[in-house]
Symmetry: C2
Subunit: 340 residues, 2 copies
DNA sequence: CTGTTAGCGCCTTCAA
DNA sequence: TTGAAGGCGCTAACAG
């Protein structure tokens, strides 16, 4: 058995309240403080967090419910967030929703049951019903990377639609007119698809149905399947906009298997500056999400809510995401395909 | 305020014990059960896990303390482990040590303070002192992927040394005699380095100091720096053994920057069948770690310990890791370099 | 099967 | 500043 505050009591002969006050940073006579400190060291005493939380109703723990822990993007977000929370004296409890909305609901409930002080959520879907347990228990939730309509939560995203629009503009500026998109129907995938449409209309470019490939969620498979289709087209596109990192992986795999090269055969434009952008040659041009900033803002807002800020209505913070240039977009001079 | 068991009491008029028994799966008169269930639904009652854990001393939560949450290998391990634990009715609390042994010590202590029932540890270093808080609190720990000498814990690893030996044999079989290694001084890096030495001696191959590049820990930087050095050698190796995934990333990046190709300029052999092995052409030959099996065994052993198995001495389970062939190793016919 | 009675380990009034 | 007493929400003996 671990030692308890009572053991400290019998060791020092002091009253429980005195010891408790010391533990919580109160003023105690120097003489007694030394006694207590000695006893703590001797008995290797550690306060029981459960008992403490039972009374104070604070665990100094934040739950991070994440859509897909196996994705690289998640890993980096979690790394930053963990560091930031630690600076605030908070610990982090991570739960993986594995792309499953029902699991997400369970995870949120689990965090609430574990009495976390707040939740960071990178949501799987768009269903604000998943948040009901947190709402009922008055646990503040901050959304990261994706919005959930009607959630009433603070939310940090990048300017997805606008960034996608700028990216596709880049393709048009290089003379591309046959531009395809592979996107998911998730929040980010859809926003980026809308940005693609914005840019295409802006430049008065044709948008054949064949040039739009979509699936329920971002995955390597989605990119792979989409690229297979696009390559098989009678009049294939010259450029492809890939709405997320995993999709990009799939596209590159499909091209590899066909022995096709970028940018000679296809110009590519993706999202996120992760492994792929570092190791594949030529380097792929991507929209680079400022992940550290997303985490900073998210933690800042959540800490404010946890500290009792309750009167302020939900905020939506949109962070600018720039384009990190690579060599995956070639110049097209005439209407016909031609090496750049 | 959330409702408590007392609210159920006043709602139903039953005694606390009856309700408690129902909650814990005991037999209750049908009539009362229906009353309780109705009250629970009406008040949206959820048992307070803290109060419950305070008495039972069981949280049904496992802590997973991981060396580097940003690595892909970790992400996949966490995904599998979370699924397996869930099947056992356990939840998982993930803590990132970010390659920092001191943080690892804090993380383990944090898990112990949070009263987890057991800990899965993918350790940063070799210091069993980090485990003292778990030892003192009698919290079982199972080591994953890496051993910690003197830890007295169950441990699941692959046959690192043997797998590396087999891998280097493969290089020798293709006629390579000038084989270099880039390794870390961490447990896995070192074991794999020993396997390299085994194979080199077995084939009576020279091991110039220049062909061995090492650093304190696995990182992209280590691979990048190492490859820079190897490429600059007067008599460079023809093949390179990379002792982990991040190292491989760095090596490929360095080769890309010099415009060198695999396998024409260098034959490569790595570890882990992750993104790199999927998207880089030619495909890189790697030692493929059976990650799912590692997790299964780890969870199995930990569950046994948690269920009170205390008399059995620590077990070391070593899992066979095979080679997933790619096209990154070319054939060498004569002593001189020659395209395969 | 049900109800009563003690606590789990700690914090927080109060009075001294 | 200190000590005694009560209670956070729940479970685990008992006795009925």
């Amino acid at each position: 058995m671990a030692s308890t505050i009572k053991d400290i009591k019998s060791e020092t002969g002091l009253a429980l309240a005195t010891i408790s006050k010391y533990l919580n940073g109160g003023n105690v006579r120097t003489e007694n403080r030394e006694k207590i400190e000695a006893a703590i060291k001797k008995l290797d005493y550690r306060p029981n967090e459960m008992a403490r939380a039972l009374i104070t109703k604070k665990t100094r723990t934040i739950g991070f419910v994440i859509n897909d822990i196996a994705s690289q993007f998640s890993g980096i977000l979690l790394r930053y967030t963990g560091q930031l929370l630690r600076k605030h004296g908070y610990s982090m409890m991570i739960c993986d929703s594995a792309h499953d909305p029902q699991l997400e609901e369970k995870n949120i409930r689990f965090c609430v049951d574990k009495k976390v002080d707040g939740i960071l959520l990178l949501p799987v879907g768009m269903d604000s019903g998943n948040l009901s347990s947190a709402k009922a228990a008055n646990v503040p939730v901050v959304l990261l990377d994706r919005e959930v309509p009607g959630s009433g939560c603070d939310c940090i995203t990048i300017d997805n639609r606008e960034a996608a629009r700028r990216a596709v503009n880049e393709l048009a500026r290089h003379g591309h007119t046959r531009i395809a998109v592979i996107h998911s129907e998730e929040y980010t995938g859809n926003e980026r698809y809308l940005g693609y449409l914005d840019a295409m209309r802006e430049h008065d470019l044709p948008i054949p149905d064949d040039y739009i490939y979509s699936g329920p969620m971002h995955s390597t498979q989605l990119g792979y399947r989409g690229m297979e289709k696009l390559m098989a087209l009678e009049e294939p596109p010259t450029a492809i906009m890939m709405t997320n990192y995993e999709v990009s992986l799939g596209v590159v795999m499909a091209m590899n298997e066909e022995g096709l090269k970028c940018p000679e055969d296809f110009s590519l434009l993706g999202f996120d500056e992760l492994t792929l952008a570092l190791v594949v040659r030529p380097k792929i041009t991507v929209v680079a999400q400022p992940m550290e900033e997303i985490c900073q803002e998210g933690v800042r807002l959540l800490m404010a809510r946890v500290d009792g800020e309750t009167d302020i209505p939900p905020r939506r913070i949109s962070i600018y995401a720039g384009i990190a240039p690579g060599e995956s977009v070639r110049e097209i001079r005439t209407d016909r395909t031609q090496a750049g």
